[in-house]
Symmetry: D3
Subunit: 142 residues, 6 copies
């Protein structure tokens, strides 16, 4: 599995485990359905989706902001998620590398390893998407 | 002095102290010119300015990214600086409050006190700018 | 004004400015009502309140968790807010100093200045509360 | 090896390497015993253990505080360690998911990938513990 | 009071309040001696002092490391404390500005406001020390 | 491949991908040369190298500062990079463990997992270097 597919497989599986129906969450070692997220967590995931919708600012600007925030906070999976969303809405590589500029200047050299892994994910995502693999993520969360 | 003027006064004075000429840096207790920034620091300040210039992405998007990054990293002065830059280029309050949305969702409730101080600065800046006070910051740094 | 009163005055005023009705938000320099928080931000504030209510864990444990999280993330106003909530529900000083232990061990010496300011706020809050000053914060946010 | 066993294997091996006797630390490429932790680091590990003992607050509350602090600081191994400690003292899944609520609200969506990995570790730990595998960690550190 | 004197006054007063004898901690609103730090916190403060003593590395290198760590973690009071310790042991301004270089490059532009406040404190400390004011801090903590 | 070799392989490959010539960056799925770093990012990498050169402070002190900053910011790859640089210039294990002391005290128990992985990398690097494997990293970045 490519890095792109690994990312989506784990993310989808755990989103089901945390947010899904009794059946989707699976059973625990005691044979009963796993305990999943509370209402607070479920509402947070919903709110997370709403924050990136078109409004006074277009969704594209918001995804770029989500990406830069993920980079300066140095969260690889969040970077991967927002890069994938950016590709989904047609952001170019030239634009992405200018997002990386701002993240690097604001966040410093400590961002560099996350930049490397972000570019590695970007290449993996471009390949997967060219092959028509654009997994629809189950709703919820970065 | 309003919060807006305090911000600019301190920022300008210290930028001179750190980046300025021998004269601008002032003398130390030994009567000699204060030691100021090295070439590395000076170049970093220059690079910081270049990262927000129009390119594949417009300056406006980059300022919004700078603002969201400053909020999730919880740096009040950086938030103030980028809000001021946003006003300079005509960003509306509706747009700013959507930047705050993304910062709050990505960064969590820990961002709230910085949101309060950011809005307080915004109000102070709108008043100062309506009166024609738009201090030209000496080049350099958030 | 004591540190305790300053904290509540600023917090209340800005919560009104951000979350309040047209009237409570006040008018901007253009004479129109200030733009305030979006629905996303308002819902986040509501969710923030819900996360600390009694459930499988009692509210007291959640407030202690909110306090320790605020200390390791080094947010003075969040620390002040949670200390005040802890006093509201009868947490003792002995218990608070054990929360400080965990925060110090997890977060390191970088937490110490926030510990000092937290204890200073605690003393100020005990005095204000003994005098019967226990301002009801307008709903919303740390 | 499951995620649970991998976690404990690496943690135990490195704790020996860092804190252990000459023999336990092993030899370096020069054939001499590896250099290990100083007294300062050893004392810090001891202090780390003491911070979670019963006092004015019970150990359970302190472990929950350790877990929430680890989540908002986004340290996967610290999250795994505190989840395992919570299982050891009988914390329920319903309680754990309310700790996740507080972490998510305080720390924001950047916490989500750590929540996913935390739940994945939780499931792995429940399985291992049901099989009677509850490795006694060598003393020391999160 | 200068920034330098304010820093030391608050630090000394709160160190007494937290770490001091019954008398030094003062009485609370109930007329009883204030509750102070636990043994865990007291031992942590002691350990904090030990970490900067001469060893395989000289104290000077350790103070410079403490300063750079404080800058990238963006803790103004920690920066002030370590700058003051650096002056105590004769670190030059040229050396300090190279510490600032590393902090700026590692930590990014988000460090800049802390750099400004650090240089402002440095100037204040040089003046106070030239006048013979070098307050002996009560033992304990950054 | 050892941890040491994996680290260098990924770092070298991605540095080429990001900073290299058209040929070194490789072609994308569209058959055209991959888009690489902008001038801002390239200049930042250059500046990153300059910050650690001999000056008022020797390179060794700067590498130790880079290491401690990487540890308190909890970036495993940055820790690995600076440990490798330290070995390159002859820093002893006794000195490294005193850097770890300062990082642990400043950054707290949250640093412990990074300490474990740092020591694991150190052992891997000592073995690789004893065998004569000291890969020259392509210029650029932590």
């Amino acid at each position: 599995m490519s890095r792109y597919e690994q990312f989506h497989e784990f993310r989808s599986r755990l989103n089901c485990r945390i947010l899904g129906s009794d059946e989707a969450r699976g059973n625990g070692v005691d044979g009963k359905p796993n305990v999943g997220a509370t209402l607070v967590t479920k509402r947070f995931f919903t709110l997370d989706g709403q924050a990136y919708q078109d409004g006074a600012l277009p969704r594209k600007t918001k995804e770029l902001m989500g990406l830069v925030a993920s980079m300066v906070l140095r969260c690889d999976d969040c970077v991967a998620y927002h890069i994938d969303q950016c590709l989904e809405i047609g952001v170019s590589d030239e634009e992405l590398f200018e997002v990386f500029d701002v993240a690097l200047i604001v966040g410093g050299s400590i961002v560099i390893p996350h930049l490397r892994r972000g570019v590695d994910f970007l290449d993996s995502a471009r390949v997967a998407r060219a092959k028509g693999r654009t997994p629809t993520c189950p709703a919820g969360g970065e």
